[in-house]
């Protein structure tokens, strides 16, 4: 029998997944997609591990090291994400009033919140880590016991991460208000994620198996042979599984630690919950003390576009979940440009031709980056108006004009980002001449069009009830990304031949462009502009129509 507090969650899941008693189409598609991702993960890991494994002893050690580091990193991320989730589920959840005011015991509430936190944060890790670790098992030709060890150790470690997170949160919220605790944990997680991302990229792990670098890694070799994280539950799991993979031997001490630790932390958590939850929850209900006051606005009549710009800017800057994404984008841009800086152009390619080819491909990369950032920031911008959208709909401002203002607002930062990405990467690639202009102009046209597509699709599929911007991404966002990528690829494919002809005359012939080539380039330029304008026009019409009263 399912414990009573789980009833809404299990029933909601059932009602969401099944329409009537039939497994609905959406669920089937999502399941298929999940399965496909599992297969891809398995194949990619299998290939990578097989490659390392085939190198020599160093390859095997390195592959084990990657195995251990990956699992410890996942464990740390799990603790952080469980902390954020458990602040919400334990203290800020909308059904808390109902649950806490009912006679259900605090211990019962603890069980429910811990288990839901565990599932919410770990299901993806559990689902996607199994094929990854299974690939290790297959490559290392592990014994039969590897599989039950894997299936016991990974959920046990994930559960330990969630339980540790819940205990930390109960203590933190007892000491600080819940919302402040959530903000602190959120920033810590973000910084940790950025740190990991930068370290991983800047260390260039692909160099580890580069024979030319072996000389520098003698000391490293002795370090990699040591077991990773001997004091961490994730280290125990990684070491247990890697010991079994290498020697087909079970380390019983590690297995006992892996199984007993979650139980001990569970009981500690329950104790903390019984003693500290109610005072912490009571404090989390208190909305006083955390108010920030802002400068009173100038008594001035704003024009329509000024008002939209101002509202968008202050809403963005006052929402820590939104502006803190700047850090992530900053890290992304640094790593993106760093990759161009370290391209071994002299050694491997050594020709201007290849640099120009990369610059052309970079247009597509910038387009994809703009498309994905637009999916995160521009797509949800109409839905983010939420329940207050009636104010705009009822105002004398036309919806078409409102969409235009929104478009221009988002166009500015995206244009600046595109110019920076193309300009700096062209500088690192030492690009000059026509390719500089082709890449810049094409990237800008693609950027402007994908931003329009994001706004248009976001309007057509607007979710005015989503709790936050990230939660409003639905099937419309997938359709948007598909269209944006198709559009970008079309522009690039159509432009490849004309750009090649132009660059050929520029690089090798240094003489006038043949008339036919010039006409082809002109046709591509005009075609690109027409296609982009047409795309923007169609999506703008559809979006405006979607906002009309029905």
């Amino acid at each position: 029998m399912i414990p009573r507090l789980f009833f809404p969650y299990t029933r909601i899941l059932k009602n969401k997944l099944f329409s009537g008693s039939v497994f609905n189409l959406k669920t089937s598609l999502i399941s298929l997609l999940g399965l496909a991702i599992c297969v891809v993960l398995y194949l990619v890991t299998w290939r990578t591990v097989a490659y390392f494994h085939a190198q020599n002893e160093l390859g095997i050690i390195l592959s084990m090291k990657i195995f251990q580091m990956a699992w410890i990193t996942i464990f740390a991320m799990l603790i952080f994400s469980s902390m954020i989730t458990s602040v919400s589920t334990l203290y800020l959840s909308k059904d808390n009033e109902l649950m806490v005011a009912s006679p259900a015991g605090i211990d019962e509430l603890f069980n429910m919140r811990l288990i839901t936190t565990f599932f919410n944060t770990s299901w993806m890790v559990l689902l996607f880590s199994i094929p990854i670790f299974a690939a290790f098992g297959v490559v290392f030709d592990s014994g039969i016991l590897y599989w039950p060890l894997l299936l016991a150790a990974i959920p046990a470690t994930s559960f330990t991460a969630s339980a540790i997170a819940v205990v930390i949160i109960i203590i933190l919220v007892y000491l600080f208000p819940a919302r402040r605790t959530k903000d602190i944990i959120f920033y810590l997680t973000l910084c940790f994620g950025i740190f990991l991302y930068l370290i991983f990229r800047l260390l260039r792990p692909e160099d580890l198996v580069n024979p030319e670098k072996y000389g520098q890694f003698i000391e490293y070799l002795s370090a990699v042979s040591n077991p990773a994280g001997p004091w961490l539950p994730a280290g125990w799991t990684a070491n247990l599984l890697s010991t079994y993979l290498l020697d087909q031997r079970i380390d019983w001490l590690l297995l006992a630690l892996i199984i007993l630790t979650p139980l001990i932390i569970y009981f500690l958590g329950e104790l903390a919950m019984m003693r500290l939850f109610l005072p912490g929850f009571s404090k989390s209900q208190e909305s006083f003390g955390g108010h920030r006051s802002f400068r009173r606005p100038q008594p001035k009549q704003y024009r329509g576009w000024q008002w939209v710009f101002k509202k968008e800017t202050i809403s963005f800057l006052r929402d820590s979940k939104e502006w803190s994404q700047f850090f992530m984008i900053g890290a992304l841009v640094v790593v993106y440009l760093y990759n161009f800086k370290v391209l071994p152009l002299e050694r491997t390619f050594g020709t201007t031709y290849v640099a120009n080819l990369i610059a052309f491909g970079n247009i597509g990369l910038t387009g994809f980056l703009a498309a994905s950032l637009a999916a995160r920031f521009v797509y949800p911008s109409i839905g983010a108006e939420g329940g207050a959208f009636y104010l705009i709909r009822n105002s004398p401002m036309s919806m078409k004009r409102f969409l235009c203002y929104k478009y221009i607002f988002y166009l500015i930062p995206f244009t600046i980002l595109t110019i920076i990405l193309i300009g700096v990467s062209n500088h690192f690639l030492q690009i000059d001449g026509p390719m500089w202009w082709i890449s810049l102009v094409t990237a800008l046209i693609i950027c402007w069009t994908v931003v329009a597509l994001a706004l248009g699709f976001g309007t057509i599929f607007a979710d005015y009830n989503a709790e936050n911007r990230a939660a409003s991404m639905g099937p419309g966002a997938v359709m948007y990304l598909f269209c944006a990528i198709t559009y970008t690829l079309t522009i690039l494919l159509l432009g490849f031949s004309p750009t090649y002809r132009l660059m050929r005359s520029w690089l090798w012939q240094h003489k006038g462009l043949p008339l036919f080539d010039a006409l082809i380039i002109l046709a591509w330029g005009v075609g690109m502009i027409v296609l982009s304008l047409l795309t923007v026009y169609v999506i703008y019409r559809r979006a405006s129509a979607a906002l009309k009263p029905r």
């Binding site: 009833f7 009602n15 909308k94 009033e97 109902l98 009912s102 006679p103 009571s282 003390g289």
Partner: protein
């Protein structure tokens, strides 16, 4: 005096330096409908949340049926049915699933499957019986309010605590709710409700307390309060305004009337 069901003694709640509820004393007897009135921000919801066990008092104590909340919160919760001012409903549950979940949270009150018959009765009163197998996300605001009311009435709790009970209800449903409160009181259940509606307080409540700036400024039956304030001929609204800030209101009204007169004068000129 009827046996006491709810007793608040010198109950206080402070948030940092702000005192939301300041040493209030209230005693509500069995079978009574008690109205808790006050302007916005006076401390009504804070008091109600303390009664529901959602906020811990800074000082003082409260007990339900003789069980102190500080020592026996589980027993207090078993005896109380609480409807907040902004209740939460699971959008992806159906009405009947929601009711069955509430019954599982209050097993003693639900008494096996007895709650089923009672829930059908109340759904029928509120005219939403045919909607009970639809997802709550398709309910209107009023239907949600009716479902919440059903969930509390079906439990037969000895103490019903309601924050703003009539918000979103049509006149017919509001009348049904009023009659249900009266019927519950006649069965010996106690109703503690906060409201802004003077009409509800006057019509429904056996006794009322008026809270302003966190303190109780008046308590008693409506007629007692009118007599105390020498307002026998006036209605409860005037009395309420007198007790909770008529002076400021008069200033606002005077300013608005001056404005109106100026406008008329300008138009005439």
């Amino acid at each position: 005096m009827k046996p006491s069901i709810l007793k608040l003694e010198k109950l206080s709640k402070t948030f940092d330096k702000f005192t939301a509820v300041n040493q209030i004393d209230i005693e509500v007897g069995q079978g009574e409908i008690f109205g808790f009135l006050g302007p916005n921000g006076a401390g009504k919801t804070t008091t109600i949340k303390m009664i529901a066990g959602l906020l811990q008092p800074t000082a003082g104590d409260l007990s339900i049926h003789g069980h102190p909340m500080s020592k026996d919160p589980s027993r207090c919760r078993e005896l109380t049915g609480y409807i907040p001012d902004r209740p939460y409903l699971y959008e992806k549950l159906t009405g009947s699933e929601y009711l069955s979940f509430i019954a599982s949270l209050y097993p003693q009150s639900a008494n096996g499957t007895d709650f089923l018959g009672r829930s059908q009765e109340y759904l029928n009163y509120f005219d939403i019986e045919e909607w009970q197998d639809n997802l709550i996300e398709s309910y209107s605001h009023g239907m949600r309010q009716k479902l919440i009311m059903t969930s509390i009435f079906m439990l037969e709790q000895p103490l019903i605590v309601v924050d703003e009970p009539m918000v979103g209800l049509d006149p017919k449903s509001a009348r049904i709710v009023k009659e249900l409160f009266k019927s519950k009181a006649s069965e010996g259940k106690t109703v503690f409700l906060s409201t802004h509606s003077m009409e509800i307080a006057e019509e429904l409540c056996d006794r009322i307390s008026i809270i302003a700036h966190g303190s109780i400024v008046a308590s008693g039956t409506v007629s007692e309060l009118k007599q105390e304030q020498k307002h026998a001929s006036e209605n409860l609204e005037d009395l309420f305004l007198q007790l909770t800030g008529a002076f400021e209101l008069q200033e606002v009204i005077a300013a608005l009337r001056n404005n109106q007169n100026d406008n008329v004068l300008n138009r005439t000129l």
